[in-house]
């Protein structure tokens, strides 16, 4: 039985194209998003838009470690050979290794399983409760570099679906 489409044909085509592109897009994002996030943190840059200092300072780079933490680093009182720079939230590597990504319905979900993530991202770490953002919250964005990569993945997925 023929189907009669009475709506806007352009919109219909765009919608079906988006639906076809989605699986490719999600698969692609899942493949690179962890590397992008960890890569950004490792060079001392927050993956979150303006997330380097308390999420509102407009800085991309993470705020410097506290003087007391730097003293611990200098005196080699920590469990690894941690250095002062970059400020990469990496001591044992457990936090960054705990990043997970999964395709879930109409989204790619990304989260840290290590409990320290909550302190860095929301509650504040150390005595001075410094927030160094790791992941965007609802309504927030990734930094421009990661956004650019996501947009490219979307364009590629659409091109492959035409």
């Amino acid at each position: 039985m023929p189907i009669k489409w009475t709506g806007d044909l352009k919109r219909f085509k765009a919608l079906t194209l988006t639906e076809r592109a989605k699986p490719k897009f999600f698969k692609e994002v899942k493949e690179f998003i962890k590397d992008e996030i960890v890569g950004s943190i490792e060079r001392g840059v927050s993956p979150v838009h303006k997330g380097g200092e308390d999420g509102s300072s407009g800085k991309l780079r993470y705020k410097d470690y506290s003087d007391s933490y730097k003293r611990q680093i200098d005196k080699k009182q920590l469990e690894t050979s941690k250095k002062r720079r970059p400020v990469n939230l990496k001591l044992t590597g457990k936090l960054l290794n705990s990043l997970k990504a999964r395709i879930s319905g109409d989204a790619v979900k990304v989260w840290f399983t290590d409990a320290k993530a909550k302190y860095h991202n929301e509650l504040g770490a150390g005595k001075s409760k410094i927030i160094r953002r790791l992941l965007p919250k609802t309504g927030e964005q990734f930094n421009a570099g990661i956004r650019k990569r996501i947009v490219k993945a979307l364009k590629d997925a659409i091109r492959l679906s035409i």
Partner: protein, 148 residues
Amino acid sequence: MPKSNRKEVKIEIAEFVEDTILEYLSRGESPVAGERKVFKSLSKEYKKIKSKVSGSSKPNMELFGDMLDDFESKADTGSSITFGLLKDASEKSKLKAENHNKWTSRALKTKVPKRRFIPKGEQGLRKEIMRDIEDIIESYVPEENDAD
């Protein structure tokens, strides 16, 4: 491009440029067109010092990190963005950047090797960065069909 998008695209580009330059520097590379891509490696003596302090023996422009902490990029008035060590940067950071970038005759006289990360005069950013900037601008330009 609609006026309403202009400010937004400038902010997007400013943040992208800042992030990209920092990324190049973290790899020990220059983001500036016409400059040697990989920075000259550090001297043996300085490598030892830097490795002890910062944990990296790469020429990533980060010993104590204060210079790069002061590096920023901002959307300007008109159709431009500004990046570098801007008015809020400390004098020390500005001097370090001047010496590394070799912008002035005073900087040329210092022994600091040239590792330029901010373009001088007519110089621009590397073409791959410029291409990405064009992509960002393009993504803000409405397609003809959007008006339908």
